[in-house]
Amino acid sequence: MAQSMVNTEKLKASNKQAGRKIGGTVAILVFLIVLGLFMLFPIYLMIVMAIKPVEELFIFPPKLHAINPTLNNFKDMFEVMHQNRVPFSRYVFNSVLVTATVTILQCFFASMAAFVLAKCKFPGNKILNSIIVVALLYQSNVIYIMQYIVMAKLHMIDTYWALILPAIASPMGLFLMRQSIGQVPDAMIEAAKVDGAGLFRICWQIVMPNQKPALMTLIIFAFQAAWNIQSGTVVFQEQYKTLTTVATQAASAGLARAGVAMAAQVFVFIPPIVVFMLAQRQVIETMAHSGIKD
């Protein structure tokens, strides 16, 4: 009884922490750590495998750490990649070009379209909104063939266009932004309209600055998808291949390259992690205070 009195008194304080017990936080932390270890274990193994010398990969009993850690696997991977007719820097250039273009254009186009679909009434709005969801649900392996036919008709095969253009309009990205922008109070947009702002300005100066969490999440998705584009099926000349494609190729040569395969996986994994960390920090720094509520 007395305790609940204290509790209610605490709750009266407008501090959000008032109702929180320290025990709850500790329990949450323990739960997250245990589950986190399970999630991390295979990734930890991947990194350990990448720095193990080949002879250590198949010893018994399996070790959870490398006895003589080495960077030889990475060296071998780069050597294999250097053996191609095209200089290594070309792959780096290709990857940067494709990833940057796709990420920027995808975020830019999807945000604008999402704003219109979420907040404007015009003929066709409802249909377009449901087409986006249907496109997400329609997963057919025949699409890739049809996509290839379209690209061939547009003479895009074996050019950068084949890597960049199909990745720009992602229904998932649009859907994500649309869901998030839908939460912006209409009053905010109406106010801007009354002040005489055009749609384009409302989108980028009023709505998008409040959409940092969703936009940063979209950047993570877009970067990850663009970085992992496997160019092998639409681009056949060495000079247009991306880093990811070549690293995967270097890895796919059987057991002798088991170490290289792991090194390639770690190598391909690094840029998305870096982008993830940068973007996620932005998400977390956001403190939502729109000031207007419906």
Binding site: L45, F269, A288
Partner: protein, 313 residues
């Protein structure tokens, strides 16, 4: 002059309606302009291929010759004589039942729990849980579940005395599906999870404070009265993502337990489509399989959005 029926008075003629429509299209020119860049690429690289692929299910198409129209015979074969397809339906349902709801709840629960932490820990834990989506390392899972004593799972169990001999995780018909489900759950904290994390970040802090004043006593009440009602759109997004990933799962099984898996124990509908599409080049048949899967997912999505919108409003 034409006679006007009594009930038609006050109604617009078709022509007038068309003119009104055209007028409102012109009025919303800015909307269409802002949609145009996305829709252009979406039309060319998604809509056109999808529309082109729709009729494929009614044809016999081996990629070498032009598709030949064969009516519904792909569909009748699927349900009446393809025993493996019927089996794959069962596997897909079991698979989706285990991975779909569980990973959906996990996505939400973890996103929420992480939200309670210090900002530095937030980034760290979000990274840890999302990392498998960035690096789905089937090779290390194969090493963990390797069938000899070298496998981490086996050597762990034998050392503890829980098993006498190595278990054939990846080939024993009893374990194949279970192992696949575990790995699928491991990579399932993907897009839906991140979207929910972003959604939590968007909840106005003052909402919690107001809640505390109005007598919200603990985290559970806060969850039910404040958090869930303001997360509707993100919950919907995560639901769609989770439906897609749990019903179209196939790559995990193919990479982990091989293709085809022992006794078709991990043979999902998508694996079946892969088999006919990319192994046997029977694209028409593969299209029909995908079409059935699409209809199921579409209906499920309708159902879930109905349920969710009921709780949101």
């Amino acid at each position: 002059m034409a006679k006007i029926a009594a009930e038609d008075i006050g109604k617009r003629t078709k022509q007038e309606e068309r003119r009104m429509m055209w007028h409102s299209v012109k009025q919303n020119k800015a909307c269409y302009l802002m949609l145009a860049p996305f829709m252009l690429f979406f039309l060319v690289f998604t809509i056109v291929p999808v529309v082109m692929s729709l009729p494929m299910g009614f044809t016999d198409f081996n990629m070498a010759q032009a598709p030949k129209f064969i009516g519904l015979s792909n569909y009748t074969t699927l349900f009446l004589s393809d025993k493996i397809f019927v089996k794959s339906i069962r596997v897909t349902i079991v698979f989706a039942l285990f991975t779909g709801p569980l990973s959906y709840v996990l996505c939400f629960l973890l996103a929420w729990l992480i939200n309670e932490l210090h900002p530095k820990l937030k980034t760290l834990f979000t990274l840890i849980f999302y990392a498998p989506s960035m690096a789905p390392v089937y090779t290390t899972w194969q090493m963990i579940f390797s069938g000899d004593m070298n496998g981490y799972a086996n050597s762990f169990l034998i050392n503890l005395g829980l098993a006498n001999s190595p278990i054939q995780w990846l080939t024993d018909a009893n374990y194949v599906l279970g192992v696949t489900i575990i790995v699928q759950l491991w990579i399932s904290l993907g897009a839906g999870f991140l979207a929910l994390r972003a959604g939590f970040q968007n909840i106005d802090r003052s909402m919690y404070e107001a809640g505390a004043i109005e007598g919200i006593r603990n985290r559970w009440q806060e969850l039910i009265y404040i958090v869930i009602p303001s997360m509707g759109p993100q919950l919907m997004f995560a639901a769609v993502m989770q439906i897609v990933s749990s019903f179209t799962a196939g790559t995990v099984a193919q990479n982990l337990v091989g293709f085809p898996s022992t006794d078709y124990k991990a043979h999902t509908i998508m694996t079946h489509a892969f088999d006919y599409g990319w192994v046997r080049y029977e694209m028409g048949y593969a299209s029909a399989i995908c079409m059935i899967l699409f209809v199921v997912m579409y209906l499920l999505n309708k159902l879930i959005s109905k349920v969710l919108s009921k709780y949101m409003d």
